[in-house]
Subunit: 339 residues, 2 copies
Amino acid sequence: MPEGSFSQPVTIAIDAMSGDRGAAIVVAAALSAVQENRALSLILVGFRSELEALLRSGHPRIRIVEAADVVRMNERPSHALRHKRNSSMAVALTLVRDGEAGGCVSAGNTGALMAFGRSIIHMYPGIERPAIAKLIPSLRGHCHVLDLGANVDSSAENLYQYALMGSLMASAISDQAEPRVALLNVGEEEIKGNEQVRLASHMLAQSESLNYIGYVEGSDLFRDVADVVVCDGFVGNIALKTGEGVAGVLIELLEQAFSKGLYGRLAGWLTRPIIGRVLRLMDPSRHNGASFLGLQGVVIKSHGNANERAMLAAIRQAVREVQLDVPQRINERLDELML
Amino acid sequence: MPEGSFSQPVTIAIDAMSGDRGAAIVVAAALSAVQENRALSLILVGFRSELEALLRSGHPRIRIVEAADVVRMNERPSHALRHKRNSSMAVALTLVRDGEAGGCVSAGNTGALMAFGRSIIHMYPGIERPAIAKLIPSLRGHCHVLDLGANVDSSAENLYQYALMGSLMASAISDQAEPRVALLNVGEEEIKGNEQVRLASHMLAQSESLNYIGYVEGSDLFRDVADVVVCDGFVGNIALKTGEGVAGVLIELLEQAFSKGLYGRLAGWLTRPIIGRVLRLMDPSRHNGASFLGLQGVVIKSHGNANERAMLAAIRQAVREVQLDVPQRINERLDELML
């Protein structure tokens, strides 16, 4: 990450109404975010009266922009697109398009966010569909995984484009010159997988601009064998949520063990400093915030049920991508690669 | 589980040559298995001289059946089917068909095991494709998940049939009268998912013989919200391996933390009795052994790289299914359901 970049002023718009847990979580996270980062200004988009009440005395670097409507979690994206132009989600995206915010964060309906994103912010020329990308922690580093749910029926061509965008994103965010790009599959042998994946592998193997290393399996996601792992959104979403589920259950069981009886509590007290890093690594709320890759702007999708810490993590992710100028850097190189 | 069932004699055939780690692991697991279960006899299928050398003085309830060939891990199933009729895998399946063994275990090539299974043992009438099913541990119980990789392009009809078989399997193995059956999807709302999943959901909702509860997400697999979770094999395989990957990384990190310095080792020594249950719950080698559902016989697939403990777990799974007469019980009820 370039030095000194954190003094560069950044404004992020936040869709304050769309999450499962209501605006209070968002406002609390917003206040924490501006407190920890003096270069950051925030625009909270939503019902002014509700947000003003939650903000109380307010903050000089947080302002409110009114939006009269909210996209519901189970609303059809096509319905939202037609009827919810005044929603907190659409207004937040419009602030990005108009340059009033460098990027935005929403915990709302993923499909609607994608539909509004494509319609308001537009995509890179030549890219068919946006993909949701996330940096997930691994044993010794991290790995960019995409698509995590923007598209549930990706073609080989789509997978190929995700690989291009993911590689450029890894270069921009993690400062890797030639990120190792892999396809997620049910085995490492060439004969494995469905038709789309096998065809995408063939296309990637032909590409001279990508460092394509072949197939990886689900268990490899955390083993630092690839920097970018590409898959269909249906597969990626379920895989990631399964991984988060395992981590969640493990943390819950450990907490239970450390709260039972005197011995358990003593062991917990002694152990917590030792295994704190492990618990943090696996805590999904510390890794919240996925990027809509393919849009010409920074759009960060938060978990719908994000708590305050998770929402703060998503805001930080938006700040990072704006400061690193990720969309612009991808756009420039995509032009070369797709010539 | 019916009382006293464990005294009923059982014979299991083991494909001793196909795993990644060689026959020594299999022989060691076989010896442990016959020692812990006096009702169990085993047939090791493979190269007689190699197996005899590994068995040393032998065991009265372990015998060897010669097979001259081995299916390779990266061999095309169609190639194996044509050229490897004398492989340890094919011979083990033939022993099941001929009634010499009640069931069999293989750690070999999944595609070849499916191809040989369909060709040698045959399927339930009306079932289009077999599915790989596994009992995975959850917070308070467990959950049957299928398909885990037999088919990478399941149609809605396939998913519907997996649901039928999975429900009957849960009834037979876990003694549940009306197992809760769910489809794995990227969200719980009706509009989510790809076409196959949405259509399968419609079919399942019509069925009166199934207790269909709708969609669940990856994170729900461990939260006891369903007894049977149905998905395409590509999705299921990647989800499960991702979950195992997370658990593996967590266990590795905990072990590291507990081996560093005096304080770490002390904390580990104090903590191990407390979190032992957690570590065991997440240890993939304790949950090895997936069932080929749809075949008229017990065929258990072990992880290719199973260690001795994992292979032992797979043998136990085969014994359990034979003693509970799972294929027969599924077959009887399928007949009713598919009338």
